[in-house]
């Protein structure tokens, strides 16, 4: 008797759990949900943006919008979207990743980048260095990263967007210094990667490795992530070293047409991306250490944090992302040829 009862009880509990789950997920026709697939360091940024946008959307249309976010290395996220991850919008680290989504999954048109202002980049960033307080290894500029005995932390270019900006910035530096010597640039980048003990899959993973696990002497970092490190781990433990020269990183955003049309969320998804260019959002962007594309809207205190340094663009030096991605980061490309993880004898 008791066994039958317990069986019944177990089934009832299971049914109850399922019912509560289903009912919790059920939304009134007034509610809409969109998914933002983003790159690794933007967690805090989009938390703030999503909250502000939801408030604004509710006020203007009366509709409740929930934005679900997924974060990870940009390349990895792009491949996930190609593999079927349902994204209403993608906000990745570089154009080549969204190009790949357009090309391989055909879920958005190939001319997506021209649909929004500033090459579809509501914010930009650049690459700087983070070192331990006191800068014990005396890191001042790019050549110091290739020095013997310096341990460099940078993520995996195969999965991370930031990692690719890092790589290209280093290449561009040496190219500039030697007035166009591609061979020298390649040797330089190779020397830097010889100093890299571990490649994490995303910028945030590298931050954890550098800041939390105390690996490495210098971290090649997104500017926004660098400031976040100081904020989270303490300005008394780390300092930012701004190199003489860096690359202008333009992380773009796009609506994924096929998905929004299927889910009927085009209107709100489009509004979400448009919102990123609004003064309110640009303020949030600046406050989260990203360089706003409309600086006039941002708080001057936040803007003062961004140092002026010589920035080159990927178009000027590398002929655009399509070319750079194919040449350096595709299977068998330059990165595959030069990267040899530090051997046993070196690190054990």
């Amino acid at each position: 008797m008791s066994t039958r009862l317990s069986l019944l009880a177990a089934l009832a509990i299971a049914a109850g759990i399922m019912a509560s789950y289903v009912s919790a997920r059920a939304q009134s026709s007034q509610d809409v949900v969109i998914t933002n697939v983003s790159y690794d360091p933007t967690r805090e940024l989009y938390k703030a943006i999503n909250e502000a946008f939801a408030k604004q959307w509710q006020a203007s249309t009366g509709q409740k919008v929930t934005i679900r976010a997924s974060h990870g290395g940009s390349g990895k996220q792009a491949r996930s979207v190609i593999d079927g991850l349902e994204a209403d919008v993608v906000t990745l680290a570089l154009a080549a990743d969204i190009d790949a989504i357009a090309r391989e999954s055909r879920r958005l048109p190939e001319n997506w980048q021209s649909r929004l202002p500033n090459n579809s980049s509501p914010y930009t960033s650049t690459i700087v260095f983070v070192v331990r307080k006191g800068n014990p290894k005396g890191i001042r500029d790019w050549p110091d990263l290739a020095r013997q005995g310096v341990s460099v932390v940078t993520p995996n270019p195969k999965t991370s967007g930031g990692a690719r900006w890092n790589y290209l910035a280093a290449w561009a530096y040496e190219l500039d210094r030697t007035k166009g010597d591609q061979v020298a640039a390649r040797k330089f980048v190779e020397a830097i990667y010889r100093n890299v003990p571990v490649l994490d899959s995303g910028a945030r993973g590298s931050t954890t490795t550098f800041a939390q696990r105390a690996v490495g002497d210098v971290f090649i970092s997104w500017e926004n992530e660098a400031h976040l490190i100081l904020k989270e781990f303490g300005a008394d433990k780390f300092e930012i070293v701004v190199p003489s020269f860096s690359i202008l990183a333009e992380p773009p955003v796009a609506v994924v047409d096929v998905v929004v049309d299927k889910r009927g969320t085009r209107k709100v998804a489009q509004a979400y991306l448009d919102y990123l260019y609004s003064p309110a959002a640009q303020k949030i962007i600046a406050r989260n250490f990203y360089r706003p594309s409309k600086p006039e809207a941002a708080d001057p205190v936040d803007l003062a944090r961004f140092p002026k340094l010589r920035l080159i663009t990927i178009d000027d030096v590398f002929g655009g992302w399509k070319k750079a991605q194919a040449e350096h980061f595709a299977d068998g490309g330059v990165f595959d040829q030069i990267y040899r993880p530090a051997g046993k004898t070196a690190t054990r």
Partner: protein
Amino acid sequence: MSVVILRGWTSLSLPKPSALPGFGITFGFAVTYLSLIVLIPLAVLVARAGELGFDGIWRVATAPRVLAALEVSFLVSGAAAAVNAVFGVIVAWVLVRYGFPGRRLLDAAVDLPFALPTAVAGIALAALYATNGWIGSLFAPWGVKIAFTPWGILVALIFIGMPFVVRTVQPVLQDLDREVEEASATLGATRSQTIFRVVLPVLVPAILTGVALAFARAVGEYGSVIFIAGNMPFVSEIAPLLIVTKLEEFDYAGAAAIATVMLAISFVSLLAINAVQAYSQRRFSRG
């Protein structure tokens, strides 16, 4: 297990007509479920790896970084299993033979690594053994780092393997006939002679089983290790992490190849466990 194998072998005929109903439905459901959930997906894995061909798989499996990861996984798992063998026996002995306040509680607690989610264990151990953690800070003044080095992996694998030896040895110890020990004593053996010549040999099959189980579990462990390992290639990168990395790079065939190699090794270990059990049953069992 060997009893089951024995019974299986003696019934190499068509199912005997049984008075009990339900064979068709239960057997059919069990086999279908097994195939759908386990066998077919595993077959797809091997097939995917097979895309590379034998030499392709060999090339992936013997790439320096893969070999290093397998080496780290196996060496540290072996070390952890060895530590658990020694301490597992001690703990089992203490739990069975000695009485002390809280013994029941501790006995129940031994299963904690079974019940605790691996991610929880991972962050807890990482917090404990980091240089500013409760234990890590004790070693920090000597410049010894535990977390984020292979030592951290060792700690994590000792944790998750701990219950295996204890739980396989305990029942044997409990069943042990004290008369044998008493007889040994009356024949003039010292206590340590009794322990090492009379008691321990009886425990050997159970210890070996426990060690093999702990080892097999440790090799594939992921969640509790990745938070405390440094994840640095050639130093503290474990094989399962390498599989995940390859997946993230969308090198599916490569991931499948490493997974297949690990599966093959697991399969061999399973056979070895069975063989060891059978051998030690014959060799050490009291009949």
